[in-house]
Symmetry: C2
Subunit: 282 residues, 2 copies
Amino acid sequence: MPEPIEFAHDGDVSPPLRRLGQSVLLSQDEVAFFENMQANRIAYAKNEALISEGDDYRCCFALRKGWAISSRMTMAGRRQILSVYLPGDFIGLHINFHRRAIYTVSALTPVEAALIEPMRLIEIQQRWPVLAAGMDWSAVRATNILSEHNVSLGARTAQERILHFYLELWCRLMLVGEASSEGFDMKMTQEQVANTLGLSVVHVNKTLKALVKKGLLKIEGRRVEVPDVAMAVRMADFDAAFLDSFRLANDASTRRDGTRDMLEAIDELTDEMMERRSEAAE
Amino acid sequence: MPEPIEFAHDGDVSPPLRRLGQSVLLSQDEVAFFENMQANRIAYAKNEALISEGDDYRCCFALRKGWAISSRMTMAGRRQILSVYLPGDFIGLHINFHRRAIYTVSALTPVEAALIEPMRLIEIQQRWPVLAAGMDWSAVRATNILSEHNVSLGARTAQERILHFYLELWCRLMLVGEASSEGFDMKMTQEQVANTLGLSVVHVNKTLKALVKKGLLKIEGRRVEVPDVAMAVRMADFDAAFLDSFRLANDASTRRDGTRDMLEAIDELTDEMMERRSEAAE
DNA sequence: CGTGATGTTGATTATAATCAAGGTCTGTGG
DNA sequence: CCACAGACCTTGATTATAATCAACATCACG
C-alpha cells in the first residue's frame, strides 16, 4: 500500500505534480518518477509556438510556468482560442493520435515546459497506474472545460460568458496557488478574451466595463477581483463541478492551502443552482 | 502476433466494433471479448434519458442503434446540446471520473445501447491494450468534435455553422454505414439543430432555406443531400482530419465500403485549405 | 377529426460586429 | 531625458446579424 507523501511546502513540488496530487494519491516512487521525468525543460518566449497546426511533430508538455493557449484559424481569417493552459496543465496529451497537429499552441507569457516523450506516456500507462489515472483525469477535465465553453458560446450572453470565464480562470489558478481568495492576475489581453469567447474586442471591452459598473468585477490593470462571489457565481451560472470532481484523494485533509474554503462555498451555491435549473427545465 | 479479422459482411459486426476496427487492428480474441461484452442491452424510447444531470449513476454505454444527444440546461432556461451520438459511439466513457453526471444524455430516436460496467473498462485497460487504444481514440475523437463545435460557435457564421454540422454528421454516418455517398437521413429537428449550434429555431429555418437556395444543400423531408461537395466543404471550412486521423490500421485495405472515396476527396481539399488558411493568418 | 410537434414566414427588436478615432502605457533608440 | 512606435485599451456612431414575437401551415398519429 503506497503511502501518501507530505510536502513541507507546496513550493517544493512542480505545478504539474501538485495538480496530480490533488486528484490522486501518489506514492513516493511515483512522485520521484514524475518529477524526474520533467528534467528536459524548454523555455518559450511570449508568443512563441510550442506546436503549430499541421506539424507532424508529436510531443506533449507539462506546463511548469506561464500561460499558453491553443487556437485554430478559420479560413475566413478568424482565430478561435480553444483552451487556455495554466501552470500544472498538460499540453497535447493526445497529440500522438494524430498524423499532424490540428491546432496551434503558443505561449501567452514566457513559458517553461517539460517535454514528455511519447515513450514516457506509454511507460506511465504500463508501470504507474495511479499516475496514469491522474493524467486521465487531467484529460477529462480539459474536455469538461471545453464543454463548458461550448455552453457559454452557445447559450450565454456576453456578460455571463465573460464572467464565467473569469471565474473559471480564478478557480483554476487557485488550485495551483497562482491566485489568492482576493483575486488573480489576468494575463490575457481583451483581444484574446474576445477570441476565446467568440466576441469582438470592442464588445468585450464594453461588457467588462458593464460588469465593473454592476460591481461583479473589480479591475485594475491586470489585477482582477470579484467583490461579491456569490452574486457573480449566480449570475454567471457557474458550477465548479467541472473543475473539481475527481475526489478520490481530494478531501479536506489533502488541502492545506486555503483553496478549499472558496471551492466549498461554490459547491454550496451549486446545490441551490441545480434546483433552480430543474425548475427552469419545467 | 494477433491476426486481423475479416468479416464476410459488415452487417455481421456491431456498430461499435465496426468503428473500433476502423482505427485499430483487433485480434479474434479481442473481437470475441468485445462483442460478448455487449450482451447486456437496453432499449430506450425516443426522448427517454439514458443519463440525467446530477445522477450519481455511473455507467457507460456503447450505442448500437439510433441517435442520442448530451445536453445541459442553463439557469436562464436555455438548453445547449453538447454532442450527438451516432451508432457505434461510446456514451459517458469517463462518467466514472465524476461524483455525479454533469450532463444529460437522451435518446433522439429509439435507441439500443449496450451497458458497459465500470469493471469492464478496467478489465479492458488491463487485459486488452489494443481495444483500450481504440477506445482512447474514440474519446479523443469526441473531444475533437467538441473543439470543432467550439470553432463553429465562436468563429463561424450561421450558414457556415449549419453546413459544417451537416457535413460532420454525413461523414460520421458514412463511417458506420448509415449514410451513402448520396446523402443521409437527418434525425434532428430544427430546434435541436438550433440548440446544438447556438442559434434560434427561426434563424436555423431561414438559414437552411438560404443554403438550399444557394445549392449547397438539398432537403426533402428528413433526407439531406449535398449537390456540390467541393463547394460545400470549401464554404463550411470543413476538414475531415478531426474525424479520421488515427490511421494505424486505417489504410485503403481496411475499408471495403466505399467510404474511402469521399473521405479522400475531402482530404485532398484539405491540403488546399491549409494553404489558404496560412495565407489568411498573414 | 383534433391535437401536438414541427416547419415556415414576415415584422420588430436586441445584441453584437464593424468602423473610426483617440487615449494610455511601455519600451526603445536617439 | 525625450520622442516615437507599437500594443493595448476606450468610446461613440453605424450597421449587420440573429433573437424574439406572432401567426399560420403541415404533418403524423391516436
